[in-house]
Symmetry: C2
Subunit: 221 residues, 2 copies
């Protein structure tokens, strides 16, 4: 068993990425994968994969690769994705609905068991997944009753900080925030802010480099 | 002016994060910010901020901080976010609609100018932003006519790889993929795969550590 405490955060963040192609290979691939092959499937470099997977040395066969099944089991144990997690969501707009209905979440053991909104017109609506939208005012009661530990925020930006406070007060320990604002972490709570436009900015940066490279090459010919 | 080529990728990725609170401060904050303050607003450590911003040394005032306006201007120039970018989107479900209507995108200069779907029932629908959904078969023609460089994929997983190929063939140079599958990069194209469940796995990992810490403390008392 790997000593989790030795593993740096940056490696942990890449483990989830590595697990995606490993899961696909588990179904219909060979039992062992090389670091080069895994790197290619993830779109990262092989040296990084080898460095990260060095923490799982016991699953490696020198010069051959890693035993997929055992590696995946260990990654899931470390990430805590080898069991079911219950979630609630606040903000039932288009993004909220798309997340609640996301099959990938359910497949990975993340199950939404409650959905909230502050809009009276949405309260009482039944979502395709079977959940009925409840009023934001019930967050405290429902979160405690269902012992929900993770909250997802998909409200407009102006409501996100307030909602984070309500969730934290209700006993939520971890929040995934999709509202386009950096939410400050309430006491004794972890927040991941997901900002799509950050990903777009990274993409544009690399796009510009690609063009500059092309222009340089054009100038040289 | 900063020599862009000296800046490592990992720093570039953090620049977009740093720019968010800087933008807010530009409106109604002091003209200068310390690395400690900025680190606090971004939820990262101050040493990292100082190391990253060392590439922008000329905007730093030793012992005081960074000139916000100049720093932000330089970050935007480097990321390529100081101008308008036109985008198209393929897959008009709940997620697709939420992205097209995302005000943050428009505010940052990312403007959707075309929306596509393969579902004949959706084709011809007018979205709240004013765009009319076109058939996927028109991607090639429209992308060329409007000189669109960036494509966003919000199709189901099974369609994503095929759509990436169509976009690339049409002349799209950069793709932001939200479909829950790692899309392989078509030739001469950059892809960012956005997988929400990866963020959730990171969150669960930290949540578990928090609990273990709590249990340890409880045991000690």
């Amino acid at each position: 068993m790997t000593k989790d405490s030795k593993i740096p955060n940056s490696t942990i963040e890449r483990l989830a990425f590595y697990s995606r192609p490993l899961e696909a290979l588990l179904k219909d691939g060979p039992p062992i994968i090389s670091s080069e092959k895994l790197a290619g499937l993830c779109g990262v470099n092989a040296a990084q994969v080898r460095k990260d997977l060095a923490y799982f040395g016991e699953f490696g066969v020198r010069g051959v690769g890693y035993e997929i099944k055992a590696l995946l089991r260990e990654i899931k144990r470390i990430l805590g994705t080898d069991r079911k997690w219950t979630l609630c969501i606040v903000g039932i707009g288009n993004l909220g609905i798309s997340l609640v209905e996301n099959e990938n979440f359910r497949k990975r053991g993340y199950v939404f068991v409650a959905a909230f909104d502050s809009d009276a017109r949405k309260v009482g609506t039944r979502l395709p997944c079977g959940l009925t939208v409840e009023h934001e005012g019930n967050i405290g009661k429902v979160v405690k009753a269902l012992e929900i530990k993770i909250g997802v925020i998909t409200t407009p930006a102006r409501a996100a900080q307030r909602v984070a406070g309500i969730l934290s007060k209700a006993g939520i320990k971890a929040i995934l925030n999709f509202a386009p604002i950096q939410v400050r972490t309430p006491e004794r709570c972890i927040i991941e802010n997901v900002d799509f436009s950050v990903r777009l900015e990274n993409l544009v940066y690399h796009l510009e480099r690609l063009y500059k490279g092309e222009n340089t090459r054009k100038k040289q010919t």
